[in-house]
Symmetry: C2
Subunit: 334 residues, 2 copies
């Protein structure tokens, strides 16, 4: 591989001049620029990014941490981040945190030790205090789906409370009054907020919250199954079920159908997130759209703006969910 030195030799200029033309910023006369560019072409020169990083103290890479690489939710998020960053010529280094404290800590260390210019992370296990401490370092860190005291401008969020509200309302407006709810793990802020929104809607329509029809699940298929099983065992009747995410809704549907409940006639179900597969489920799942892809893009923009001075970018820190109506809610008003 040709080095900057060989280019400078061939072009008959100094190293500094070659560096100037690769970096496009400083003034170089047209004639010398031409000479240098020609030399670069004939030598097939490509700057060594490692050397650039060492000298400039910029790696042009952004570290990403998600809980898992598989799973439709994180897929969308990464896709949004990568698209935006790649277009800006930045590299994306990816790690997983598996929703547990140890892996999350290690993953962040890993990225930091790699001299990333910034981090975009989806942290679930580490607490605010730890993250606040982390942010005192030199590497800016941006958070997905999280609000941290004093670091709001580093966070990109979904209005989960409103989403929970929308979900409940969608069901209520189809005439349902006996509504069950399967939540995500309450230590996760998203889960907590969605539940709050759900409760707000109930209150608004004067429907009491019934603890017999509440279950804290795990945001996975299993949670949906377990919750439904529990509700079915109890005698409390219910005609609708709000699930705090689509995976749990899928689990609930499977379980219900295995127990001869006809969907959506006997039981209306609504999910949350609108993952790609929600439309393949039968009956096609009515759910709340979570614009993760856009949120990923926005996090990337935030980094580009703050770290690389892409100043024109407009940043939005909070996103609104919306209702996606499909076939899984049965109207019982008539």
């Amino acid at each position: 591989m040709a080095t900057i030195y060989e280019v400078s030799k061939l072009a008959g200029v100094s190293l500094a001049t070659v560096s100037r033309v690769t970096n496009k910023n400083a003034k170089v006369s047209d004639t010398t620029r031409k000479k240098v560019e020609d030399a670069m072409v004939t030598l097939n020169y490509r700057p060594n990014s490692i050397a650039q990083s060492l000298a400039s103290n910029r790696t042009n890479s952004i570290g990403i941490m998600v809980s898992a690489l598989n799973g439709p939710f994180f897929g969308q998020m990464m896709a949004g981040i990568e698209q935006e960053l790649r277009a800006a010529g930045k590299h994306v280094i990816i790690t997983t945190g598996h929703s547990n404290e140890n892996d999350e800590k290690e993953g962040i260390d890993f990225l930091l030790s790699r001299n990333c210019d910034a981090l975009i992370v989806h942290i679930e296990a580490l607490d605010d205090q730890y993250l606040q401490e982390l942010c005192k370092g030199n590497t800016p860190i941006y958070f997905m789906s999280r609000t941290i005291e004093g670091l709001q401008s580093n966070c990109i969020n979904l209005d989960n409370e409103y989403g929970g509200y929308l979900a409940a309302k969608a069901v209520i407006e189809q005439g349902h009054k006996n509504i069950a709810y399967i939540s995500g793990p309450l230590f996760k802020p998203d889960a907590k907020e969605r539940l709050q929104g759900y409760k707000r809607a109930l209150k608004e329509y004067n429907i009491p919250f019934n603890t017999d029809l509440y279950f804290e699940g795990d945001f996975k298929e299993t949670g949906g199954r377990e919750g439904t099983q529990l509700f079915l065992k109890k005698e409390t009747p219910f005609s609708a079920l709000v699930c705090a995410n689509d995976e749990m809704a899928a689990g609930a549907m499977t379980y219900a159908r295995e127990h001869n409940i006809s969907l959506p006639k006997d039981l209306s179900i609504i999910g949350f997130d609108n993952i790609i597969f929600s439309r393949y489920i039968y009956p096609k799942l009515t759910t709340i759209c979570n614009p993760v892809f856009e949120m990923g893009q926005m996090a990337a923009k935030l980094a580009l703006k703050n770290v690389y001075q892409h100043n024109k970018l407009k940043i939005k820190h909070s996103f609104k969910p919306s209702l996606v109506t499909r076939d899984s809610i049965h109207n019982i008003i008539d």
Copy 2:
């Protein structure tokens, strides 16, 4: 951030000695090692990986290219790769190729310019010749789901032909004789091989291949819908449908159900890949397991072995698919 120089000063040794203890390889006496380690701790020293890379000509990062970051298939693949590489302390830089020539070329250039020690790629659009050329460079490149003339030892593959055979056989053994087939795009080797396996099974059981019951889809939901629509329009009766992947099977199911075909009673469907969601589909999808996660791990091992001399690793270049029996095939023998 403390540098190696400060550590050497504090410990009263040379730079080289400090380097030796960080790299654990060369011999250092216990007492000096202790001194150095203490100095590292008190200074909170972390080697600068960029400087290490520049000096050693090793970046400890591996570039990955997949077609898309979302989608269950690639998610599993990346998860396998990342898990293995991360455990070995290597970084994973991810790019997307979107199944088109231009993005694939650019993506590879992008990774190469980043001085990755090796690449693991899933290429769909670029042809063998281009890839052979690419492999003449200094960076080793490993291929997922691809067989390239002369580069077999750089490839990790699924025996797709056998998978297609298994799928057809599963349906035939439940008594089906009129079997439709929705293929993936035939320019993709996977699709072609699966079809061949399917045909082999038909032949084995003396069932003629009927072009009226063949459709070339796109490996997406749409393909499944379109194929089913086409078959239904023709008068040729069929009781089973083999789809070359799960997404198309999901699409076929949706379409069939929308047209009042009772599943699996009136139509048996089998998919391919066993993506996470195949069990949420109703009826739960019988399919062919594609061990992408393991294949991802294996690709990572291949890179570790060849590039970083992890010599104990055993490499396997071809994986066998297997049948996953669930509820979407109806027995019509009785």
